[in-house]
Amino acid sequence: MKKGVILFAYNTEDYDYVKMAEYAVKRIHYFLDLPVTLVTGNRQYQNNLFDKVIYEEANTNNKKDRKVWFNKDRYKAFDLSPYDNTLILDVDYVVNSQKLNKLFQIMDDICVHNTTEFLMQPNLPYEYLSAYSYKTAWATVIGFKKTNKAKQVFDCMKMIQENYNHYSNVYNFVAGTFRNDYAISIALHIVNGHLLPKSDIIPWNLIHVGKNTSVYKTNDNVLCEEFVVIFDNWKKNKIKKEYIQFKNLDFHVINKDNFVELLP
């Protein structure tokens, strides 16, 4: 069974996602020892770091903060992936341990995170699609096998993307910006008969570096394993800065500007 990782990277005016993918691929090779396929909108792009580079025209039909955001068409991963067992990772997910290799042993068809932990903000509640809806699953890390059920989930994501306004009405969320997290949350529930079996959930938390929190590398090595997180803790109208230092823990950086600072 061929295992591998697939990354999607479409550059925008503000961020060089391909550069982020180059950072990610080095870490994936080092920690997970897996081949990586890049899906990008740059037809000329070639880089030996990647097992395969696939050109796929960007879907420009999405906006975030009034700017174009190329995050649609993630459902194509099922057909694009050259691997039997695939991990889809966001390029701003920092692989910093071998933990993800365990997913290949434990996943049945498809699995995602639906529980999160924000570093230094332990009491933040989980995100829900809306007050009366499902807990949000995260498309930051998706593991899948090329099975019928996984195909159904990705086909369903396509259907949701194409009818996003309708699903926003059904599930009562704001449709302004398309989110893969919402699409996969709904798709998993539909395919599973509006239940979510435990086998579709990654049995550990997705670690975020979130708001008011910044992450710094402790050295300039692209494979740096130790990071410092500084948190602006508001107490009595004053900021008290707190920090932790950790190693060998994967994390997802929500603030792109902060993530860019980690790049070599």
């Binding site: 434990i106 932990e117 710094y216 920090y243 932790i244 823990l249």
Partner: protein, 101 residues
């Protein structure tokens, strides 16, 4: 700017509680293992249960809520080994934290 200087200039205080929480996230997932067609977490409860019964085979509900018939001794040995290794590693890092300021 290196991180030491950064921490000093920001007058940031080391947060023991947040560091403990990060360690929990790091190590609790290491207790999870796939074995004998089931997914298990090496917990004190499960290890003790496997140690106290005498049947060669036993049916247990795994982390995915599936009923799995397992070889008791084999699973017990695997879980105990994982538990011991992870806890020792965790403890070493936990002790390092106590000295941080």
């Amino acid at each position: 700017m290196d991180t030491k200087t950064l921490i000093q200039e920001a007058k940031a205080r080391f947060s023991h509680n947040a560091a403990k929480a990060a360690l929990y996230e790091k190590y609790s997932s290491k207790l999870i293992v796939a074995e004998q067609n089931g997914l298990w977490k090496a917990t004190i409860t499960l290890i003790s249960f496997l140690a106290t019964i005498s049947d060669e085979e036993v049916v247990i509900i795994d982390e995915f809520n599936n009923l799995v018939k397992v070889n008791r001794q084999k699973l017990h040995k695997t879980l105990l080994e994982i538990y011991t290794n992870v806890m020792n590693e965790w403890y070493d890092e936990f002790k390092e934290l106590e000295n941080k300021r």
